[in-house]
C-alpha cells in the first residue's frame, strides 16, 4: 500500500545500502579504530610505527584470546552451552603454570636450554590440569542437566565460575601478583620500520600456532574428530550410528581445557602477573571473539581472537585501559544485535 509513494530507484538504493551494511557493516565497524588512529599517527608522527606496535602486541594478546575462544566455540558447537566457567579454567591454568615452574626451580637466571625444557614441561602440566578440570566440571555440572532446559546448565556454569574464582582467591590472594618474567618478554628480537617484535610476541605465536594446527587437524582428520563433528550436527543420529556421545562431549571439554591451560601459561609469561579475576575478563573477551568469528566455527574463533586482541590493545593504548571493557562489550552487543552469525558464519544446529 505504501509502495507507490516510494520511487523504485530510491527503494533499490535503500535495499542496496542495507545489503551492503549487512554484508560488510561489521568489518567496517571493526576497521574504525585502526583507521582513525592510523590517520592520526600519520598526521602527527608521519609514520605508522605506533599503530604497528599496537597491532603486534594485539596479535600476541589475540593469540591468547584465540586459544580460549577455541574452547568456547568447541563446547558451544557440540552442546550449545556457553561454558561460563571456561575463563576461570584458563585462570587456574595460569596459576598452575606459575606454581609449577616455581617448583621446577626456574628463575630469571636459568639458562636457555633449561628454560625451554622446563617451560615445555610446565605447558604439559598446565594443559593436563586444565583438561582434567574442564572434564570434571562437565561431569559434575553439565551432564546431569543434559535434558533440562538450556537455562539450567548456564546457571551451573556461572556457579562453577564463582567457585573457581574463590579457589583462586584462596590460592593466591585477592590482588594482582607479579610472577617472574622468565623469558624477559619485553626484549626486542627484530625491529622493522620502528615496529618492535619482542620475545613475548614470538613465544605467544610460537605456542599458539602449532596448537591451533594440531587441534584443527585432529578435528578435521581423526576418527574421534569425525565423531565430534557428527555429534555437533545431530547428537541423536550420532548415537544411533554407534558414537558414544557422552565420551565425545567429554573429549570436547578435554580439548577446550588443554587449550585454556596453554593460554594460561602464555598469559602468565606474557603479562608477568596473575590474579583470580583475569579469567572473568579474559572469558568475556574470548567469548566476544568466538561470537565475532561465528560461534561453532574454529577458524572464526582464531580470527575473532586476533581482531579483538588488536582492538583491545589499541583501546588500552589510546583511549585508556579503564574504557576497554566498554569498547569490547560494545562490539559484542553490536555483533549480537546486527550479525549474530559472526564474520565467518555459525556452525551450530540452530544456524542450520
Amino acid at each position: 500500500m505504501n509502495a507507490p509513494t516510494v520511487p523504485f530507484a530510491q527503494r533499490n538504493a535503500v535495499v542496496a545500502v542495507r545489503a551492503f551494511l549487512g554484508r560488510y557493516g561489521l568489518i567496517l565497524a571493526l576497521l574504525v579504530l585502526p583507521v582513525v588512529y592510523g590517520i592520526q599517527d600519520l598526521s602527527q608522527d608521519g609514520d605508522l610505527s605506533r599503530l604497528g606496535n599496537n597491532l603486534v602486541a594485539g596479535i600476541s594478546n589475540g593469540a591468547i584470546w584465540a586459544l580460549i575462544a577455541l574452547g568456547y566455540t568447541l563446547v558451544y558447537g557440540i552442546i550449545e552451552l556457553i561454558n561460563f566457567a571456561h575463563g576461570e579454567v584458563f585462570m587456574i591454568g595460569s596459576f598452575v603454570a606459575a606454581s609449577f615452574w616455581g617448583t621446577l626451580g626456574l628463575t630469571l637466571t636459568t639458562g636457555i636450554p633449561g628454560l625451554i625444557i622446563g617451560l615445555f614441561a610446565t605447558l604439559l602440566v598446565a594443559m593436563v590440569a586444565c583438561a582434567s578440570l574442564n572434564v570434571m566440571i562437565e561431569r559434575v555440572a553439565y551432564r546431569p542437566l543434559r535434558n533440562a532446559p538450556k537455562l539450567a546448565p548456564l546457571i551451573t556454569a556461572v556457579g562453577f565460575s564463582f567457585i573457581l574464582q574463590n579457589v583462586g582467591i584462596l590460592w593466591r590472594g585477592g590482588s594482582q601478583q607479579s610472577v617472574d618474567n622468565l623469558i624477559h618478554q619485553e626484549q626486542s628480537i627484530v625491529e622493522i620500520l620502528g615496529v618492535v617484535i619482542s620475545r613475548g610476541d614470538l613465544m605467544a605465536i610460537g605456542v599458539t600456532v602449532p596448537l591451533v594446527f594440531v587441534v584443527t587437524a585432529f578435528i578435521a582428520r581423526s576418527r574421534l574428530g569425525k565423531a565430534m563433528r557428527a555429534t555437533a550436527q545431530d547428537p541423536e543420529a550420532a548415537r544411533l550410528m554407534g558414537i558414544n556421545v557422552d565420551q565425545t562431549i567429554s573429549l570436547t571439554f578435554l580439548l577446550g581445557g588443554m587449550l585454556a591451560g596453554a593460554a594460561g601459561l602464555v598469559y602468565a609469561l606474557y603479562q608477568t602477573n596473575v590474579w583470580f579475576f583475569q579469567g572473568f575478563t579474559a572469558g568475556l573477551i574470548a567469548f566476544t571473539a568466538a561470537v565475532m568469528g561465528g560461534i561453532g566455527n574454529l577458524r572464526g574463533a582464531v580470527l575473532g581472537g586476533l581482531i579483538i586482541g588488536c582492538i583491545q590493545q589499541i583501546s588500552d593504548n589510546r583511549i585508556g585501559g579503564e574504557w576497554t571493557p566498554v569498547i569490547v562489550f560494545g562490539y559484542l552487543i553490536l555483533i549480537m544485535t546486527f550479525r549474530p552469525r559472526g564474520l565467518l558464519g555459525e556452525q551450530t544446529r540452530e544456524a542450520g
Partner: protein
Amino acid sequence: MSAVLDTLKTKLGQRGLVALALGLAIVFPLFFDQLATQMDVAIFVLAYVMMALGLNIVVGFAGLLDLGYVAFYAIGAYTVGWLASDHFTGVGGESGIHVLVSDFVGNASGIHINFFVVIFAAVLIAAALGALIGLPTLRLRGDYIAIVTLAFGEIIGRIALNGDEITFGEYQLTNGQQAISPVDQPYIPFANFEFDSAFNLRPYYWTGLLLLCFTLFVNFRLRDSRLGRAWIALREDEVAAASMGVPLVRTKLLAYAAGASLGGIAGSFLGSYNNAINSNQFLFSFSIFVLAMVILGGMGSIWGVTAGAFALAVIDRYLIPEVFDDLPSKVGLDFQLTQLSFGIFGFLLVLIMVLRPEGLFPERRRKMELTEGVGTDESVFEARG
C-alpha cells in the same frame, strides 16, 4: 499435624499465614535496639527481596535470562545521588533546587528533591533503561540474551566507575572512584519528620517494608493480569504465543521495564540508606547474587522467590559476616569466610540446579516443565525441529 497442614492449604489459612508474617515483620524492630546490627541486616534483606522480585518478573515470568540486573540497582542509586545531594553544585544558581526537603538541606546548593519524589524518577529512568537494554535482545535466543544483558550490566558498571571522565560542562556524571556522599535522608514533609540513619534505623525499616509490600502487590497483580499471562505464554513457547496474537516486542519490553523499575526502587532505597553511592559496588557478582535468590526460591513463584531472597540475604549480610566469619580460623584455616561468600553462592547455584532445579518452592507450572520436559527451551537432544 496433618490437620494444621490442611488448614494451611486453604485460602483462608494462607491469608492468615501472610497476615501473621506481615504482623511479625511490622513489630520486628521493636524487639531490637534502634541501631542494632539486626536492624541494618533487616533493611538490606528488604531491599534484596525487592530486587529479587523485580528480577523474577524478567527471568521467572517472561523467561528472559537477565545477567545484568545490577544495572538497575546502579541507576536507582545514582538517581538518588543525582537528584538528592550536592553532586551538581551550582545547578539552579546559588540557592540550588529544592523540592519538599527539610530545613537541614533547605539552603544547600545542588539539586535536592524529596526521596519520595525521587523514587518515582528512579522508576521512570530504570524502566526506560530496562526497555533500552531489552531492545537489542528482541531477536536473540535464550543464551545470547544472557550475554547481551551481561555486557550491558558491565558497561554500566564501568561507566559508574569512570564517570568522572564523562563531563557536561563543569559537571561530572559520577564521582569516579569516590562515592557521591552525603545523600539527603528521606523526609516526610507534612509531618516534618526527617530520617536519620545515625540515630534510628526504624523509619528506614518501615519504609522498606512498605516498598516491599508494594513490590509484592505489583508482582501478584502483574502475574494474574493479561500481561502476566502473555509473559508466561512467551516463556512456554514463543512461536505459539506469537501465533496466538501475543505482541512479542511489546510484551518483552514491558517485562524488562517492569523488572527494571522494581530494581530501580530498591536501588534508590539502598542508595539513600547507605547515604553514599559507591561506584565500585555494581559488579557482575551482584547480578548473580540476585539471580541465585530467584533460582533458590523457584523461578516464577512469588512466595518462593521471597523466601529464597530472604534466605540468601540473611546468609550474605548476617550469617557469613557476623556469625560464621571466624569459623575457618577456628578449625585452623587461614582465611575469613567473607572472602568466600560468592564461592558459597556459586556452590549453592550448582547444588540447587543439579539436585532440585525447580527451586525450593516451585511454581506448579515451572515444575511441570522441568520434570516432564514440557515447554521453554528445547534441550540438547530434542534440538531438531
